[in-house]
Symmetry: D2
Subunit: 336 residues, 4 copies
């Protein structure tokens, strides 16, 4: 760590502090300043405390290379192969589609057949639903997960569903192909730590109030445990603009692509909260370089038990895929 | 529920939809519109779907009175009496103070003695720490909670600490007086539901990306379970301004006071992220009508294992309390 | 205007208020409420005042159709033909490119030749620069405008530049093809009003803190004066995310396309503040349906007098256009 | 300026760049890095360009001391004495009150008498109104300014009104005591520059999308011209929270007080947009250290031509002042 201080008096104070913590360092004098090179291998220093000393002009920020998500630690982009041999990588655009909530066998079967026919690679379906109001439909719970699993077996399509707490890890491990951590749990660190200990792919959604850096730090909790199969998913942040439910931050795609080797997905359904805008934003996400999109589709949106307003019907979803393929091709990517 | 539609053709479509859901209604014709009064006792309708119909001019928004937090359902403000008979209410300003993290017995004892002497009513101390980076100090865990409890017994001061997951409920019930739900877990609905089933007071912090309405909906998860002892706590929201770590939304105080009977606290330490601004914001919170403040205090902030930069030392805390008492008195409140 | 009130007592109060303002109305009684249909042709009522009356459940919001920007008032999308017969419309993607600031004759000539060769349709170049700090380069002023005009004559390319105050209208009218109103002046209503009285095309940038609705209201100031040639331009809004200078709100494209007949452009250079992200965001904007993009290009970005960090060099710009053409084609649009 | 680079190869590139710009520098080698001390007296370097070079670890940020607003350049807080000898300073809390718009002679006289009686020091009244919609009341224009001036003469109270463009400077100079620059014009740099050349006190409101740093940079435009009488005014920023019209950022008070010697005012009326919250926020602003508050007051808010919903009536204003005096006293300030 390097610290630059404006004059000798202030430098002496920093020196005393470092001595009191038994941290070794070396100093250099330049015309305008004194420079400390600090050897803090035990990580005892808090950057913000150092910055708060009088006369401190600069403290080396946290070094990016120390994180497992960093491109500096892994030259190749992460690719994730599912049980059915479908691979998520940066040469293809993966399409995840399905209803907000699994509601009953007919609903999920009809949607599954529809999205497979249109070309989706992975089926989504919520069983445990994090709803803002306790009076809204809370999902089918474990029955929903089991139902999703039956559909998976029957139609041979990988499935993804959202986990809500650490006690559900075993069930999700058994029944789903990808475990989703929702925006509201992005900083539920105990859950992330638990998911780091298994080997299932995790799709981690960005919190509505979380920066890109915070998203990456949350991914680190999973990676650190040994689970390398992490997908990041942008789904809209809170801003003052209220014509859409959230503001889909598509700049996050190139920013994340520059920083990390992990796959980057986009959810335009939650990102906009209105099916009218889903197609435009899905195409934009692909053009900006997303490795996958996650879209809510319902056989009968008006009668959906949750999020009907942001769900595409099967016909619109079919049109969307056709357009997605064209845009993917325009940027030299493929949709299998 | 009332729905207003612009013309007969569109009204017919809504009528068909309501019929298909077997929801009863009555209509009125005015010069410009058709009005539906809908009797949806089973709560099958989704407001957003109704709004999305063509020609819909208005749909009654979610009715505030249906929530337990609403002032419309309870004329008196909620007051909460702790085991040592100290009462949190709207006539007093309650002071919670203590370190970000419990670090060791000497640290917590010295701080406890200091904050009690200065006039704090409740001692805070983190044991399980939700840290953005997995490489930062994660707290002492259960040892920290037990240590906090020993201090409580020894110095006769109620204690508060942050819970991180549903499996910790029993431990927290046993050892602390108030259970804190942190900003990152504000929408961890399974945790909130679990806390609704016990009788301990809960201090619920507003998420950094959460609206006031979402905070109240989260409180409802606890209240609905039967636990009426909920304290709301503003601690700063994410905005574009970066001279403070978050933007403390003090308008939330009068807004919440208008809507709910629950006590409203403010945490100026996390809200600003810099001890230099804590005093101003604490005084402002009291002047704006907060029922309590929660302040980070450390015997030696520069050597704190977490959040030292936003912690007051004991001397500054002492000065703060003196000023708080004056401001509280100026608005006819008291600090015991 | 329609107002719905919960009971008779409160309805009487509204009645008295309307009577005092001599506004006529009719009432209807339903089971749960009393409805007022108000005939306020003289526009004397303030919606917010009406809403503040006790017991008011609903007030008709401001009606969209009353604005000239509304799609409800004009079935065809606005197209704008420039003096050289190039037309901005919804079937093509228009490319505006050039330096942040006109610096000298060599710089502007070299850039002009480069962007024309790559395929740009319109040349941008700032002469009056709104800089956050008064100590930064403030532009060449009128000399810059004249220089831009010479280049236009010489290379036969339309030019756009940013206006800063009402006293510059005559100069801009004479020398440029499109007048840009910058984000910082989006609510400089006197300037907008002055620009409504001339016939030049205006490119109106969205303010960094402005909602889509506010952008449209600002456009209305120009349209109302009689100038129908308004282009809207998204260029990033202020949010808590700080890995990009602003957050480019691409959802604004489909939202604006739904509401208005005016052309919608996107500026990915200011929107991200970093040339590394410009290509991704430009392609995303086109995929989302933008009618044009505005990109900063410099022959030697490292030596630019302003905004070098967000400027593409000529080689990158050339690559960008090649990719833009492919993405435009993928969504059935053309770049001439 | 100091620049730190990670290795020799990258350092050579920076060296070449500096040489090409004929900027002199000196280098130091440490174990981990090479340090450049650059002597850039002519200000030709752009920090962001330097930062974009490969291997650059650090560039000295813009130095605060170089700005006239900086506390580092002026030990004493700025105080401003008006023509009637009333002084705005940091020992008192100044109260500005009055209607959003001057409407007619009776209205302004009644309000003036009321606010003087209650204890206001300065009368506010808008004549040129920046309204989001062009169809809203745009103010009385010059007649309003003249009317305000007559009231000033008659009741011997200083007046403040908002200026809209550079052509109005002479009129405002003649008729008002303090010229207000509104939030929408905070970055109208030509107006700021013009106001720097006169000697009238300027109250500069923070833009709804502007950071504290940007506010200070705008103040610098005025100070740089020679006009030292600048008052800064916080009035709410745009955030995702929508229960108040804007989010009043009261942390801006201690942050500004730490950085600048200029007086800091707060406008709780625009900051909240709802008169119900004005009192709480006014008291909070004073407790946080504001040197003045600016409050909208109307003799008959329900019949106001603009902003009635956020205006206090005279009775509430009277109560507010009583409470303000108590809170001011609690923090050892005085309201004359």
């Amino acid at each position: 760590m390097m610290v630059i201080i404006n004059n000798k008096e202030n430098a002496d104070r920093i020196g005393d502090y470092l001595n009191s913590l038994k941290v070794s360092y070396q100093t250099y004098n330049t015309t305008e300043s004194i420079i400390f090179e600090i050897n803090d291998t035990k990580n005892v220093l808090d950057n913000k405390i150092i910055e708060s000393f009088e006369g401190v002009l600069y403290v080396t920020p946290l070094v990016e290379d120390s994180f497992l998500w960093s491109r500096k630690n892994k030259t190749e982009d992460t690719s994730i192969t599912l049980d059915n041999n479908y691979t998520i990588d940066n040469k293809h655009v993966t399409i995840i589609a399905g209803p907000c909530s699994v509601e009953d066998v007919n609903q999920i079967e009809e949607i599954t057949k529809g999205v497979i026919k249109a070309g989706a690679h992975i089926l989504r379906g919520g069983a445990y639903k994090p709803r803002t109001s306790p009076y809204d439909f809370q999902g089918m719970g474990k029955d929903g997960i089991v139902l999703l699993h039956k559909v998976k077996e029957c139609y041979n399509i990988p499935v993804i569903s959202e986990i809500m707490n650490i006690n559900q890890v075993e069930v999700f491990k058994k029944y789903v192909d990808i475990i989703q951590v929702g925006a509201r749990n992005m900083q539920n660190y105990e859950l992330l730590t638990a998911l780091g200990k298994i080997n299932k792919p995790i799709l981690l959604k960005r919190g509505m109030g979380a920066t890109i850096e915070e998203l990456l730090c949350s991914a680190e909790y999973i990676l650190k445990g040994g689970n390398k199969n992490v997908i990041l998913c942008e789904r809209g942040i809170k801003t003052f603009e209220n014509s859409t439910r959230n503001t889909l931050d598509l700049s996050a795609i190139p920013v994340l692509k520059k920083l990390t080797h992990l796959p980057v997905f986009v959810d335009p359904s939650h990102g906009t909260g209105d099916w009218n805008y889903v197609e435009s934003m899905a195409l934009a996400a692909i053009a900006a370089g997303a490795d996958g999109i996650m879209v809510e589709v319902h056989n009968n949106p008006m009668y959906a038990k949750s999020d009907g307003i942001q769900s595409l019907n099967l016909e619109h979803f079919n049109q969307l895929i056709t357009k997605c393929k064209k845009v993917a091709k325009a940027i030299d990517k493929e949709i299998l």
